[in-house]
């Protein structure tokens, strides 16, 4: 029956076909096709904003580790990661810290791809203005990411090139805090020349760059420059102003108000889950984080909180539990993430002026924010009084944003004000898992005390 034997070679040929074993993905594209023209450069930049706004970074996690450590929040939930930060028991295995660290570096990585690949794109439809905008945004976001790493963890490894193989970007030692801030400034200077000047609160413009520069100079105590850049933004009063009342920047589904210098936007299909942690179950949340008794008292005090009492509300009897309602848009999840508000620039300028001896100018800036909140003007008259007044003002102005803890650490006041057991808590731990995989973060290279 030899005639059947012919079946065999036919089948063998079929099986050997190399093409049979080549299956292209449909959900993804190969990395070589990632940034090749104007369109893909644009989508990569959108992806960068997406990661910046993701729950691991400004969407939820990074503000959370700041305010959970900031002394005004009580933790009522089950998650020990949040609890530990809240109780100043943060350990190097803390998941929130790891998530923030990871997402910030992912943001940097994406910026690095854009910075490396967008200049190489040849596409007649790719205008210089658009190309510059994408590049400028990438430089700015990288600057913001390194700034956040610096204020959270101190000097860090500066990764400035994209990773294409596992061997890339390894063996890089941690930079000093000064060098990290220097890199932030360098990127901001580059961004400043590339980004557009027209107002856009959800993307990066010159004003956005200036605002972050003002904050950077405040952290590096270059008071004159801090004042200068704060002024450059504040002086554009038609576009940036303290909205009245306080709640106008967030209540009634407001987005991108004149209060915001940089605000990350969310849509129904790209949601912000922040409200889940704050709202009580009756409103669809878990209320695992809530304002503590002290903060409730401050916000409800007409002479201190003023109309900032709109930040909190109480559940129905008999519970009568206070909850935060800065993030409240359930189920849409469209609460913005507030990165830089104009109120902060007033505080920056106030502090910078006070440090330079301009006490009246300082007081005026402080009282501008107080007036908007409907509280009596401060009468602080000395440098120390003004600094103390600013410290207290930030507590009620930014209780649910990324602010108070970092400023208390910056001014060296955190241990006193927050009753911290030890100053090693001024820096977050280098995540334990990272100390295991990266020798440059292990042992003495890790943050001490953890």
């Amino acid at each position: 029956m030899k005639k059947y034997i012919y079946i065999i070679p036919v089948i063998l040929l079929l099986g050997a076909c190399k093409k049979f074993l080549t299956v292209e993905p449909k959900l993804n594209v190969d990395q070589s096709q990632a940034i090749v023209d104007a369109g893909s450069a644009g989508t990569a930049t959108n992806g960068l904003f997406n990661t910046l706004a993701s729950s691991g970074y400004y969407g939820e996690n990074f503000p959370a580790i700041s305010y959970l450590a900031g002394g005004d929040i009580q933790w009522t939930g089950s998650q020990s990661d949040a609890s530990d930060i809240n109780k100043h028991l943060t350990s190097s295995t803390n998941g929130y810290i790891l998530t923030a660290w990871t997402t910030i570096y992912e943001t940097i990585s994406q910026a690095n791809y854009i910075i490396a690949d967008v200049p190489k794109v040849t596409d007649p439809l790719f205008t210089t203005a658009t190309r510059n905008q994408y590049l400028g945004e990438a430089y700015f976001i990288r600057a913001l990411a390194y700034f956040d790493l610096a204020r959270g963890w101190g000097g860090v490894q500066l990764i400035l090139k994209p990773t294409t193989t596992p061997a890339d970007n390894t063996g890089i030692p941690r930079s000093s805090l000064a060098d990290t801030y220097a890199q932030v400034l360098k990127d901001l200077n580059t961004a400043e020349t590339l980004v557009p000047s027209a107002v856009n609160r959800n993307r990066v413009t010159q004003k956005t760059v200036w605002a972050l520069k003002a904050r950077l100079y405040l952290y590096t105590q270059q008071w004159a420059l801090a004042e200068q850049y704060a002024t450059q933004v504040i002086s554009d009063a038609t576009d940036y102003t303290l909205v009245t009342p306080y709640s106008a920047f967030f209540a009634n589904n407001a987005v991108a108000t004149k209060e915001s210098v940089f605000e990350l936007a969310y849509t129904v299909s790209n949601t912000n889950g922040h409200s889940t942690w704050w709202l009580p179950p009756a409103l669809g949340g878990r209320r695992e984080w809530a304002p503590n008794t002290g903060l409730v008292a401050l916000l409800n005090n007409p002479a201190i909180g003023g109309n900032r009492s709109a930040l909190i509300a109480q559940t129905a009897p008999p519970g009568n539990l206070w909850y935060g309602q800065l993030y409240y848009r359930q189920p849409l999840g469209t609460d913005p993430a507030y990165v830089i508000r104009i109120a902060e620039l007033y505080f920056i300028r106030s502090e910078a002026r006070a440090e330079q001896g301009n006490l009246s100018g300082s007081l005026a800036d402080l009282n501008a924010v107080r007036a908007r909140a409907g509280v009596p003007a401060s009468t602080a008259a000395t440098l120390s009084d003004l600094l103390l007044a600013l410290e207290k003002e930030r507590e009620v102005e930014f209780p649910f944003e990324t602010d108070r803890f970092f400023n208390l650490v910056r001014t060296g006041r955190a241990q006193t004000v927050l009753s911290l057991p030890d100053t090693h808590l001024y820096l977050f731990p280098i995540p334990y898992s990272q100390t295991l995989v990266d020798p440059e973060l292990a042992g003495a290279n890790a943050n001490p005390g953890y």
Partner: protein, 1036 residues
């Protein structure tokens, strides 16, 4: 009339192996038709000598002629022949001793005795069958009769304790959920540890398609298969038996053969049914409301005292006022007063969540055949309610197997199983929202179920239990077709070609709807999700087999190739913001989102096998498979998997031939390589960017994966030495194996420094070792006229060790870590050494050796046992007395640890305050100096209850379970014959009837997650139910 029973040394060509025999019959019958002369007519009846049951399908053959017939379903046969009485009949039937009897007149009744000898049992192996005596590899077979009628949704669960080296651990009490299955240990971390399942030649998907979370185990796709249709199950364990499946064989292979009709038999109808009940034999013990109040008050009091001692002003203020105080006592202080402890009520949610579930099963089949065609048609309906409410399982299945001989050369056949499995699901396991068991177990007992205004009360992030029990709307439907078509051509007497085409097609359709009373519903103004997944596995295989005898030399060759593809796709639609609870479909939602995914991978393979034996004394076998996978990059696309096995039947040697006590003795040895690439992403070797990272409704992209063009197969080399002995007239059969499995090139998601922008990359980087011993003893203890007692005892031990891993990996549940030098599923905890009787404080092991002056840090976390058992196995006894039969099966695991994560939450020393219920064991906490206890003093300060995980929650999970008992009675044949039924058996049976364990939770056989890196994690998992059922098996 019996003349004698001769122990016949069966030659290969007449061994009673069904298919071969059936092949021969038509020729025999055909030969007979040329003999028209009729000299005698004989009516015969063949019965089982012990049970007196008719034996259907036995072959009666007149000695010295080619004339043979088969018995019908009532055991009857009839000869109309040219032979004159007396003549000698030879009766053969698989599993029975061949009998010769002189026929001298009609009618005649012949009693066949079951053979105890397993040597000639046919064992299904890769691409064929072999007799047990000729096996060179390690293969366990499970007699389906021994496990029938177990009210379990999945055939795998019925295999528990049935085969040495096959570890099967149920993870939850929810019917049809996935299980933990290992053949000879855990070989992989990422690439899957499930064996390869082949059902009638179809490669069957065993990975769940479920996408809508039930927060714990996933649905098990193998529960789509009706166990009643299964004829036999082979478990292939060593390299010799498995290597021909190459790249997917490292975790062993389970071959399932379904029932087929027998040639020349009258239609046999078989009906089975049972009804039963299932309930949880043990639940948790929670404290009462007043007890919880006292515990929390004590915690406040102690914490305040500790705070004062430490001078911690914040804590002093925080714990100054105890919450359970009179409502008028300091009403404005925080926390607000909740009333005195003795005024608290106790609300039992736990028992509300459980029920006695109803089980029922109906299945029936008809099978038979003529000389050219055989058929098996089966159908079944099975419904099961879990012990935990709202989890229901229903399966309807339909089965058709047909074989058709076209002519002397060609035979075609097909196997088809069509089923629909419907489940109503509930969230069990982890996660507070929507979790039925979490809500029932973890909500503090003093908190009422309804608010003062009558609305459902929700506490501590948990849903209201009544709302969940009445409003949970989660269900899934799995439609499954498992189908094979083959063509066989007998090209020459010794050469056979076979082409086999298979498909496993599964559509999995899920829906969930959370209404306005559930937390998820509130958060989303109701939420609906529809998810439709499809999975298609197709394969096309051709094989050519050749076998030849030259005197004492027997030689066989098999070559083949195989093409295979798997496509998975999913479409998910999500709706939020519904008008009200009456609108439950996504079209009614104000906001909708949707997504679709699709992935495919392909395998192209060539394989071959050569086997040889000399005089049935020396055996050798060699296998090779080459597999190419689209999952791997060009550099390493093909993997080669050879194996060799040898066997020596000492019984055939002169020195043993006359030793009566030894009926057979065989030594086996094998060595080979197998591969693994399951569970990894279809595009794992590629550098990829993905989309969906949108901003302001503009599409966004981002890098998702680093490329690794060198990615390749995990490869497992295995050496096996085994012995098979049959002693004392084959009444004692012993199989023992020693094996050494070593897996290299483990596919690991190696953690990268996240500063690179990537958390991990898949690389071949680790090594894992499994060494073990298996022992299987089957003994016929008593075999008398009316009474038979057989025992099967099996035990296996496996030592697992992660030999090489670049850096430790923390499992999906963080108390388990994978660390070089330790076994998989090792728990890492703060080890509590003791509770200081003077202070009541927990003293933890200072693994860091810093003198215990600091708070225990992450570095003090140390290994404390593994969730892998040291020994697993089963003891199965079966008794037959006249018409009664009794099966009693035990299974056991010894030496495994369980992380009692429920206890972590429920024994928080009161520090969880109003957020969690409290277990009664908390009442043993230290209170007075001198007290010896392992439950430290209640305080929120210090380390007593503030660090986790601790060894307090690591418990011994060893158990011995009476997994099944089945007592049956066969109605007398004389009675059933009158009503035209050949057999009626009624039975009462039960599962999980008794459990011996030290574990404090309801059941140590638990696992919260189907993640391959998690085992023995008890969190919100419903316990395995106890069931009792009555049933009947009828054939006619």
């Amino acid at each position: 009339m019996e003349i004698f029973t001769r122990k016949k040394k069966l030659k290969k060509y007449i061994r009673p192996f069904a298919i071969l025999t059936l092949f021969i019959i038509p020729y025999l019958v055909k030969a007979q038709t040329t003999t028209p002369l009729i000299n005698s007519t004989l009516d015969g009846l063949v019965l089982d000598s012990l049970t007196k049951e008719p034996v259907a399908g036995a072959i009666a053959h007149i000695k010295g002629t080619t004339h043979a017939v088969a018995t019908d379903v009532r055991g009857r046969f009839n000869f109309v022949t040219g032979q004159k009485f007396p003549y000698t009949l030879i009766i053969t039937y698989l599993g029975y001793k061949t009998k010769e009897i002189i026929a001298d007149g009609s009618p005649i009744t012949i009693k066949l005795a079951e053979t105890l000898n397993q040597l000639n049992d046919v064992v299904v192996v890769a691409y064929g069958t072999q007799t047990r005596k000729s096996l060179t590899g390690s293969v366990s077979t499970v007699k389906v009769d021994d496990i029938r009628d177990k009210p379990q949704a999945t055939f795998e669960q019925q295999l528990q304790g049935q085969a040495a080296g096959l570890q099967i651990s149920a993870s939850t009490g929810v019917p049809g959920d996935s299980m933990f299955i290992r053949i000879r240990g855990t070989t992989s971390i990422n690439a899957g540890n499930d064996p390869l399942y082949v059902i009638d030649g179809v490669y069957v998907n065993s990975s769940s398609l479920q996408t809508i979370t039930t927060e714990g185990q996933a649905d098990n796709p193998l529960s789509d298969i009706n166990p009643a249709d299964i004829e036999s199950i082979s478990v292939l364990k060593d390299a010799d038996a498995t290597a021909i499946y190459g790249a997917r064989a490292a975790n062993g292979v389970i071959l399932v053969t379904t029932k087929r009709g027998k040639r020349n038999t009258a239609p046999k109808v078989s009906l089975n049914t049972y009804f039963g009940a299932a309930w949880a034999p043990k639940l948790w013990d929670l404290v009462t409301g007043p007890q919880q109040a006292e515990i929390i008050n004590t915690m406040y009091k102690n914490s305040e005292a500790d705070a004062i001692a430490a001078g911690n002003a914040t804590a002093i203020a925080q714990y100054a006022v105890q919450p359970f105080r009179a409502l008028t006592d300091n009403p404005t202080a925080s926390p607000a007063p909740r009333g005195l402890p003795q005024d608290q009520q106790t609300y039992d949610r736990l028992h509300d969540a459980f029920r006695t579930g109803f089980l029922q099963n109906y299945d029936g089949s008809i099978s038979g055949g003529n000389d050219k065609t055989t058929y098996y048609i089966g159908a079944g309906i099975n419904t099961q309610q879990a012990d935990l409410k709202t989890n229901d399982f229903r399966r309807a299945s339909f089965k058709v197997n047909i074989d058709q001989k076209i002519n002397d050369i060609f035979t075609i056949g097909t196997s088809n199983s069509l089923s629909q499995t419907y489940r109503t699901n509930a969230r069990v396991g982890d996660g507070p929202q929507g979790g039925v068991l979490q809500s029932a177990l973890h909500t503090p007992t003093y908190l009422p179920e309804v608010n003062a205004d009558g609305s459902p009360a929700r506490w501590a992030g948990f849903d209201n239990l009544d709302v969940l029990l009445n409003n949970t709307n989660m269900h899934s439907t799995s439609d499954r077709l498992i189908s094979n078509f083959y063509l066989e051509a007998k090209i020459a007497p010794d050469l056979k070609f076979r082409s086999s085409w298979s498909i496993d097609y599964n559509t999995y359709n899920e829906y969930q709807y959370w209404d306005s009373l559930t937390i998820i519903g509130i958060a989303n103004h109701n939420l609906g999700t529809s998810s439709i997944s499809t999975n298609t596995v197709w394969s096309d295989e051709q094989t050519l087999t050749y076998s030849k005898n030259w005197g004492k030399h027997t030689f066989g060759v098999l070559v083949g190739n195989s093409l295979e593809g798997t496509t998975t796709a999913n479409t998910t639609a999500n709706g939020t913001n519904f008008p009200n609870d009456s609108y439950t479909l996504i079209s009614s939602a104000a906001s909708t989102t949707a997504s679709a995914t699709e992935a495919e991978y392909r395998l192209s393979s060539f394989f071959g096998r050569v086997n040889y034996n000399y005089d049935e004394k020396y055996y050798a076998e060699f296998n090779l498979r080459a597999d190419g996978s689209s999952r791997f990059g060009a550099n390493n696309q093909f993997g080669y998997f050879p194996s060799a096995g040898v066997a020596w039947r000492l019984k055939q040697e002169d020195f043993l031939k006359d030793v009566a006590v030894v009926n057979d003795l065989k030594l086996r040895g094998s060595y080979g390589l197998t591969g693994n690439q399951n569970n990894i992403n279809d595009y794992a070797s590629r550098g990829l960017w993905g989309a969906g990272a949108n901003y302001q409704n503009n599409p966004g992209t981002l890098p998702t994966q680093l490329a690794n063009p060198n990615l390749k197969w995990e490869s497992t080399r295995q050496a096996d030495i085994g012995v098979d002995a049959s002693l004392f007239n084959s009444r004692l059969n012993v199989t023992a194996d020693v094996y050494d499995k070593f897996t290299s090139n483990l596919l690991l998601n190696l953690p990268l420094a996240v500063s690179s922008g990537f958390s991990s990359i898949l690389e071949n980087a680790g090594e894992m070792s499994n060494k073990g011993i298996e022992l299987n003893i089957t003994s016929t203890n008593i075999s008398a006229e009316h009474f038979k007692w057989t025992t099967n005892f099996n035990i296996a031990t496996n030592v697992n060790k992660i030999v090489k891993i670049p850096s430790p990996i923390v499992a999906a549940y963080a108390a388990e870590r994978m660390v070089q030098g330790l076994s998989m599923y090792t728990f890492f905890v703060y080890k509590q050494l003791y509770v200081d009787p003077k202070t009541g404080n927990a003293v933890y092991d200072d693994a860091r050796h810093d003198g215990g002056t600091l708070k225990p840090t992450a570095n003090d976390i140390e290994a404390d046992g593994s969730a892998l058992p040291k020994y697993t196995g089963g003891v199965n006894n079966s008794f037959t007395y006249k018409n009664f039969d009794l099966n009693v099966s035990f299974n056991y695991e010894i030496g495994n640890k369980v992380y009692n994560n429920n206890a972590y939450f429920l024994e928080g020393g009161g520090t969880r305050d109003a957020n969690r219920a409290i277990d009664t064991r908390q009442l043993t906490a230290w209170t007075t100096p001198g007290q010896i206890t392992d439950m430290p003093r209640l305080t929120a300060l210090g380390d007593n209850y503030t660090i986790s995980p601790t060894s307090r929650n690591i418990e011994d999970g060893s158990f011995l379970r009476l997994s099944n008992a089945n007592l049956g009675y066969k109605l007398p044949h004389s009675l059933t014959n009158k009503i035209g039924v050949s057999s009626i058996r009624v039975y009462v049976s039960g599962t999980n009837l008794w459990l011996l364990t030290k574990y404090r939770g309801p059941d140590p056989e638990v696992n919260v997650s189907s993640s391959p890196t998690v085992l023995g994690y008890d969190l919100g998992t419903p316990p395995i139910p106890r069931t009792v059922q009555i049933g009947a098996n009828v054939t006619f």
